[in-house]
Symmetry: none
Subunit: 402 residues, 2 copies
C-alpha cells in the first residue's frame, strides 16, 4: 500500500459520522470554443455553488499529471487506493462490467468473436460487429467447452465481445493477448509471461481450439481471440483501510463491480438519480460511507453532447437538497476523471472537487466550476488523498506521532 493508505490504516478510528462520496462520472470538461465556459461552468447549479461557497474546493488529479485514467484507476483512487499500485486488468474490468463476481484466484479475459479465412488468417477482428443477439447465441454454444480441472464461465457482453473466466487452482494471470491487432495473419497462441501462468496459457489454448471447432460452420463469427488476461488485484478492503462500513449505490454494473472489489456492500440503486438518493435515505443508518455513482455526465461527454452534459449536471444539482436533508458530516462531490464533450473521451484534465463539512476553512471560490476550483483551498491534489481528507473532516483519523 502507498504511504497515505498505510497511515490511514493505522490511524483510523470510530466516529458517529457519515460521509457521502458523490461521483459524477467524467465531471470535468472543456469549453466548446477556447476561452469559453466548460459544461460545468455553463450549467446552472445553485446548490453545488452554495456548497462550494460555504466550504472548500479544488481540483483532483486522478493518477498523475497528463495521465488519462480509465474508470478502474479513476475510481480506485477516489476510494483511496494508489491506482498505479492496484492496477485492474482489462479482463477483470470487463467481468465487473457485466456484474460477474470474481474469486481471488479467477482469471478473467475479454473475448472477441472474429472472422478467419480457410487458412485461419484474420479477415475481420470484430466479425463484422455481429449483433448482440448473435453474441448471446454463440456464447451459449461456447458453454459446451470442457477442460479437465477448470471451471469455465462464458458470458456475452455486447456485439462481438464476451467474457471468459477460468476458475481453478494455480492459474496465473500473465498471458499474452492472442489478438495480433492486424488482419492477414493467424491469431497468436496464448503465451505465458511467467511460469505461474503456464497452465492458464495451455487452458486458454485448449479453449480456443475447442471454440474453433464449435464455430467452424458459423459466419462471420467463426473464431475467437482472447485479450487482457487478468486476476483480481489482492486489494485490502475499504473497511480494513479506513474503518468505514461502506455502501455503494450505482446504476451501472462496472461501478458496482469496482465498489465490490474494495469490499463495499452493493445497495439497490433503482434507475434514476432520484431513486439512487432514495436508496441512500433508506440505508442511511446502516453505513458510515456511501459511494453514489452518477453516470450521465460521462456518457454525454463521450457522445460529444455538450448541451446534454450541461443538462445532466443541472439534473444532478437539482437533487442536492435531498442529499443535504440527510445531514451528512462530510460530502465530497467530484468525478473519477474529466470527459470533455469536445474530446468525446476521457481526458487527463484535473477534475473539480468540493468537500463540505463543519471543519472547512474559507477559500476564494464562489461557484463550482473548473476555473473557480483553481482558487479553492484543496489546491490541486492527487485523487487518492481525497478520501483521507474526508476521513479527517469526519473525525475518523487519529493524530500521527506524539
Amino acid at each position: 500500500m502507498g504511504k497515505i493508505q498505510d497511515m490511514v490504516k493505522t490511524l483510523h478510528k470510530k466516529a458517529d459520522t457519515k460521509i457521502v462520496l458523490l461521483v459524477a462520472d467524467g465531471l470535468g470538461g472543456l469549453p466548446k470554443t477556447k476561452g469559453g465556459l466548460t459544461e460545468l461552468e455553463t450549467a446552472v447549479t445553485p446548490n453545488l455553488d452554495a456548497l462550494t461557497r460555504d466550504n472548500v474546493c479544488g481540483l483532483s488529479i486522478p493518477v498523475l499529471p497528463g495521465i488519462t485514467p480509465g474508470s478502474g484507476p479513476g475510481h480506485l483512487s477516489l476510494f483511496g487506493y494508489d491506482p498505479i499500485e492496484f492496477a485492474i486488468g482489462r479482463g477483470v474490468l470487463e467481468a465487473l462490467g457485466i456484474d460477474l463476481d470474481l474469486g481471488p484466484t479467477d482469471v478473467a479475459t475479454r473475448g472477441n468473436f472474429c472472422t478467419v479465412n480457410s487458412d485461419g488468417e484474420l479477415v475481420d477482428r470484430r466479425a463484422g460487429r455481429i449483433p448482440t443477439e448473435t453474441c448471446v447465441r454463440l456464447v451459449r454454444k461456447l458453454r459446451a467447452i470442457r477442460i479437465p480441472g477448470v471451471e469455465i464461465v462464458v458470458e456475452p457482453v455486447r456485439e462481438y465481445r464476451f467474457v471468459v473466466v477460468f476458475r481453478g487452482d494455480g492459474l496465473g494471470g500473465n498471458v499474452d493477448d492472442t489478438d495480433p491487432q492486424v488482419t492477414g495473419v493467424r491469431p497468436l497462441e496464448p503465451k505465458p509471461r511467467d511460469t505461474a501462468s503456464e497452465r492458464t496459457a495451455s487452458i486458454a489454448a485448449a479453449f480456443i481450439e475447442q471454440a474453433e471447432t464449435i464455430l467452424r460452420d458459423e459466419h462471420p463469427a467463426n473464431m475467437v481471440m482472447l485479450r487482457g488476461f487478468a486476476r483480481r488485484p489482492p486489494i485490502p478492503s475499504i473497511e480494513d483501510v479506513c474503518g468505514v462500513k461502506a455502501g455503494a449505490i450505482a446504476v451501472y454494473p462496472m461501478y458496482r463491480g469496482l465498489a465490490r472489489l474494495v469490499g463495499m456492500t452493493i445497495l439497490p440503486p433503482g434507475s434514476t438519480f432520484g431513486e439512487q438518493l432514495a436508496a441512500l435515505r433508506a440505508n442511511w443508518e446502516s453505513y458510515d460511507f456511501f459511494f453514489v455513482h452518477y453516470k450521465y455526465t460521462d456518457s454525454t461527454g463521450e457522445d460529444g453532447n455538450f448541451d446534454e452534459k450541461v443538462r445532466r449536471i443541472e439534473e444532478l444539482d437539482s437533487q442536492v437538497p435531498l442529499l443535504l436533508q440527510l445531514k451528512p458530516d462530510v460530502i465530497m462531490v467530484t468525478g473519477d476523471h474529466s470527459t470533455p464533450s469536445a474530446l468525446r473521451s476521457h481526458s487527463w484534465h484535473p477534475v473539480p472537487v468540493l468537500l463540505a463539512s463543519a471543519t472547512c476553512r474559507p477559500d476564494h471560490a464562489t461557484s463550482f466550476g473548473e476555473s473557480e476550483c483553481l482558487r479553492g483551498g484543496l489546491g490541486q491534489v492527487q485523487a487518492h488523498y481525497l478520501l483521507p481528507l474526508a476521513l479527517a473532516h469526519a473525525g475518523r483519523l487519529q493524530k500521527f506521532g506524539a
Copy 2:
C-alpha cells in the same frame, strides 16, 4: 533518507548567509463560525503582513493531506526530514519533553503509576491521578532498582506519569506496552516484538517486578505499567544534511529535545519571546541557522481560546522588527501544524508559511493568513520541502546535474 534530503545532502555548499526558522506552534486555525476569519486572519499583524506582501507565502502540509501530526513529526518535517521515515517513538518524545538526553542505543519508555487489587488486577490505570509531588517521591523510591548490566534512569513527568530509560548494550526498542488499556485484568508482560528486543523485555520485566515490591505498601499508586518503548531514530544531523551550524531557541523542553535530536546546539532561551530574540541576537555570529520556537499559538489553541490565540499572534508580530534588525538572509515563519481553537487540538489543516529573502518572486498575497496564503507563490507544499527552499534562497545549494 527521502529524495529531497538525499539531494540536499549532496548539493549543499557553504555561504555567508543566515536563516531563521520561526515556528509559531499550531499557527493554523479555523474561523469561530463558518465563513469567518481565523485566529491569524483576525490578529492585527502589520509586520508579518508587510513581510508577506514583499515576499512569498503558501501553505505547508505537515505530513500528508488529512493527516494530523503530533509535535514530533510536525517539527522533523520542518527540519527537512520525511516525518514518516523518521518516526519518533512515544517513550523518546516523553524523555525529550523533560530535557533528558538520550544516547543512540538508549531505550526510553513512558511509565504510568497505577492501582492494582490484591489479585494484581488493575483497578485504576492512572492511580487516581496522584499529584506530581507524589510522583516525584515514588520515582525517588524506584531509583533503588538495580538490574545487572544496565543503567536505569527514572524521572518524574507529572501526575501519574514518569519516564524510564534503560541504558546498555544490545537493547532493541520493540517491546509491547504492558498497559492492557482496560481495568479488571492484570497488567501485561512486556513482550519483545523481535529478537533484538528480547533482552529489553526481560529487563523491563525485572524492573516491573522490583517496582511492584517497592510500591507494595503505597496507595493508590501500588504498581507501574510501561508504554511506548522506543529508541532514538538513527537520524542524520542537520549539519550533515544541510551544511548549516544550527542553534535552537525554545522555551519548552520537548522542542529543545527535538532540536537536539537533529544535532542543533541548544541556546539559552530565557522565558519570553523578547528574551528568545535577545538570545538570537547574542548568538547571531556563531550559527548559520536558527530555530526559534514560539509555543503559545498552540497552547491557546488547545485551550480553545480564540481571542487569546489572536493576542499571542499579535505579540509575536510585534517582535518581528527586532528580528528584521538582524538582517537574516532568509526568514521562514510557519507552524508545525494547525491548532484551531474551534477544535481544541492539533488538526490536519495546512499551515500558513511565509518565506522572506532577496530572491523571492512576487505573488498575489497581501497579508499573512490562511486564505491569503492560498494565493501565495509557494502553493501548497509538503513541509519537508520548506527547508530546502530556505537553503536555496540562502544561496546554500548547488545546481543539480550539468
